[in-house]
């Protein structure tokens, strides 16, 4: 019997939905546009974040770095390891790893004429480095990146070059400390100047060939880090977990881009926070739209509801009736909204938005890419649809209860 009663309620609700088409379409539109807008803004935001991550790790950081434990905190040449064993095997065998490159890191002084500055010195294998980072693409015109046969040649950050007052072809002196504690000193020739979007690199990094660094800093087979580039950024956590589980890695720290660039994560978290406030406002606007139309529809039908109650419809049934109406409209609206939102997002995935007019602003976020595609995740569509639906139905409860509390006699006399 219960099933039959429910069936009647559902049927009544369904017919009510289409009794006043204009009102229904208006409600539908509110839900659809709200849902689509949230999906679209989320997609744009996610796409921006993804680009931000890709850009900032592409230059020099890589997806994963391996150091001896303590290196990242102390940044000293003293922390080094011999590249051997399970980690090295893993680098060759894991298909998710696109490339890896060894580096030697040291801190030192560089000087030209009367100017002296403290810098980080990075020794890299030029050919392998090109496979893990994009810094070689940022060399300013008139210079070049390091080549395999280079010796005491270096590339240097643009700001540092400016501060030192040097240009391509000049020779600068470097003074530092070797791995064995001895003094490491050399005169080095600048062959290129790079300008990344990370001011830290530009004002305090010089890069020399790995072979030179190994000799200069008396590394004796030790290296400071291995930089790993993955085929896909989303694999980072899994690969990192796999590598941490390898044997004989207790003396190593295996860090992902999120550990290496915490400021990036902070920026994204901040951005998400503001985003979520914005979405909440959109949700509320949509919900109040629904509240408004449901309230109106109930108000319009005061007489009708009065008669229904007079012939024996119970208040609970009235509540269910109104709620079923709102469920139908919300479901339909959310379905249409999800389709519309996904379609618009997809359009902007294929035809990315070109922000090149705002390049300067983007550089603040260390973003080199100015053409940013939207990125649509299934979770975005699912969560947004569910929330819109819930908000819609939730905000119909109040008018539904109000309808059920009508006094039949007064209601019939109305209008």
């Amino acid at each position: 019997m219960n099933a039959k009663r429910t069936y009647i309620e559902v049927m009544l609700a369904w017919r009510n939905v289409w009794k006043n088409k204009r009102r229904t379409v208006l409600t539908l539109l509110t839900i659809m546009v709200g849902c689509a807008m949230i999906i679209f803004f989320r997609a744009i935001n996610d796409g921006g974040h993804e680009t931000m991550i890709e850009d900032s790790i592409a230059a020099n950081t890589g997806h994963i770095q391996v150091h001896e434990k303590g290196f990242w905190e102390n940044m000293s040449i003293d922390y080094a390891f011999i590249p051997e064993g399970a980690v090295m095997k893993h680098l060759r065998s894991d298909p998710r790893i696109a490339a890896s490159s060894r580096r030697v890191h040291a801190a030192g002084l560089v000087s030209f004429e009367n100017n002296t500055f403290g810098t980080l010195i990075q020794g890299v294998d030029p050919d392998r480095e090109k496979m893990v980072s994009t810094l070689h693409k940022t060399i300013r015109p008139g210079g070049r990146y390091l080549m395999q046969e280079d010796g005491k040649q270096i590339v240097i950050g643009e700001t540092l070059a400016k501060n030192l007052g040097v240009k391509v072809g000049d020779s600068i002196s470097m003074l530092s400390q070797g791995f064995d504690g001895s003094i490491a000193a050399a005169n080095l020739t600048i062959v290129g100047v790079f300008k990344t979007l990370n001011p830290r690199y530009d004002q305090g990094l010089i890069i020399m060939p790995l072979s030179t660094a190994e000799e200069l800093f008396t590394m004796m087979g030790y290296i400071s880090s291995i930089v790993i580039k993955l085929k896909s950024t989303s694999d980072m956590e899994a690969v990192r977990a796999n590598m941490r589980a390898l044997p004989n890695t207790k003396h190593l720290e295996i860090m992902g881009w999120d550990d290496l660039t915490p400021e990036l994560i902070q920026a994204i978290v901040m951005d998400d926070l503001f985003g979520n406030i914005f979405y909440l406002i959109l949700f509320l606007i949509t919900a109040f739209g629904v509240l408004n139309t449901v309230q109106m529809s109930v108000f319009e039908r005061t007489r009708e509801i009065g008669i229904m109650m007079a012939i024996g419809t119970r208040p609970g049934q009235i509540v269910r009736l109104v709620l079923f109406e709102s469920v139908f409209i919300s479901l339909l609206g959310v379905a249409l909204g999800a389709i519309l939102g996904s379609a618009v997002s997809f359009y902007f995935t294929i035809n990315p938005i070109d922000y090149s007019n705002y390049q300067k602003e983007l550089e603040v976020f260390a973003m080199a890419t100015t053409v940013i595609p939207a990125k649509l995740y299934l979770s975005n569509v699912a969560v947004t649809s569910l929330l819109t639906f819930l908000f819609g139905v939730l905000f119909s409860i109040a008018p539904a209860r109000r309808a059920s509390k009508l006094n039949p006699i007064k209601a019939i006399r109305q209008l």
Partner: protein, 263 residues
């Protein structure tokens, strides 16, 4: 009325009585350190020093000669061995907060920037700042005698040094332990702003050298962070004075860029 005036006078006297010894003690603390610094460094000194650096991976010994004019606050050092580092020279002029490093390999001297002062000097546990500003513990800190303690078998004054408001120093607090008998330093503990012990300098091998009783060895231990306990081995820098002459006249040309750069 009169009674309250008397009370006031007594109270004032009491406050004075409490605070005057404090004043005297503060002076004493300053004097202790002044005496300590004077007796181990003299007005000037020329010394042969052997510095041994022990890290978890290697031990290195360097020999160097050091010229120090404490009054003019200038010093000069040259590394004599090992061969790889020989000929590296350092000129330090404290008044100008300057440190020059000449390296024969690049045939050039380099100014050690003030921002580099916290970096390790020659891979040791001493920082550039330790080397250059050593005597500023007299000027940049306030000194308070905070008790007595037996350290390494010596009865010592404990002097707590806190940086003066405008002093550009790195330590939050230094505890200076000097022997009660002759004010010679036995130990210094360096704490950071958060009160964490970062470094400890221990002086030992007290003997007569160059006509004075001095500690002839100084051992600096840094408490590094984030080191795997399994890898933790004793790491330190040991400075041993091989011979020294005090209060000799050092020609001012020693402390010059010409001397630094001579071939």
């Amino acid at each position: 009325m009169k009674k309250s005036l008397i009370t006031l006078v007594i109270a004032a006297a009491a406050i004075l009585a409490v605070s005057v010894p404090d004043l005297v003690m503060a002076l004493t603390a300053m004097e202790i350190i002044d005496r300590a610094e004077k007796s181990i460094r003299g007005d000037s000194q020329v010394a042969m020093i052997e510095m041994t650096i022990k890290t978890r991976r290697w031990t290195r010994t360097m020999k160097m000669k050091n010229w120090d004019n404490r009054v003019a606050k200038k010093s000069f050092a040259e590394i004599l061995s090992p061969k790889k580092d020989a000929g590296n020279r350092f000129l330090m002029i404290q008044k100008e907060k300057l440190m020059w490093h000449y390296n024969p390999e690049i045939g050039k001297e380099m100014k050690i920037h003030p921002s580099m002062m916290l970096q390790s000097w020659m891979g040791s546990d001493f920082t550039n700042d330790d080397i250059v500003k050593e005597s500023s513990i007299l000027e940049d800190y306030t000194h308070a005698l905070t008790g007595k303690k037996t350290v390494e078998g010596h009865e010592c004054y404990v002097i707590t040094m806190t940086p003066k408001q405008d002093a550009a120093v790195v330590w939050g607090k230094i505890l200076y332990y000097a022997r009660v008998s002759d004010c010679l330093p036995v130990m210094q503990e360096f704490y950071d702003q958060h009160g964490k012990l970062k470094k400890k300098l221990t002086c030992g091998d007290f003997r007569v050298m160059g006509g004075r009783l001095i500690p002839t060895s100084m051992k600096m231990v840094s408490f590094k962070k984030n080191r795997d306990p399994e890898q933790a081995v004793e790491e330190y820098t040991l400075m041993v004075i091989k011979n020294v002459s005090f209060d000799v006249k050092i020609d001012n040309s020693v402390f010059s860029l010409q001397n630094l750069k001579r071939r």
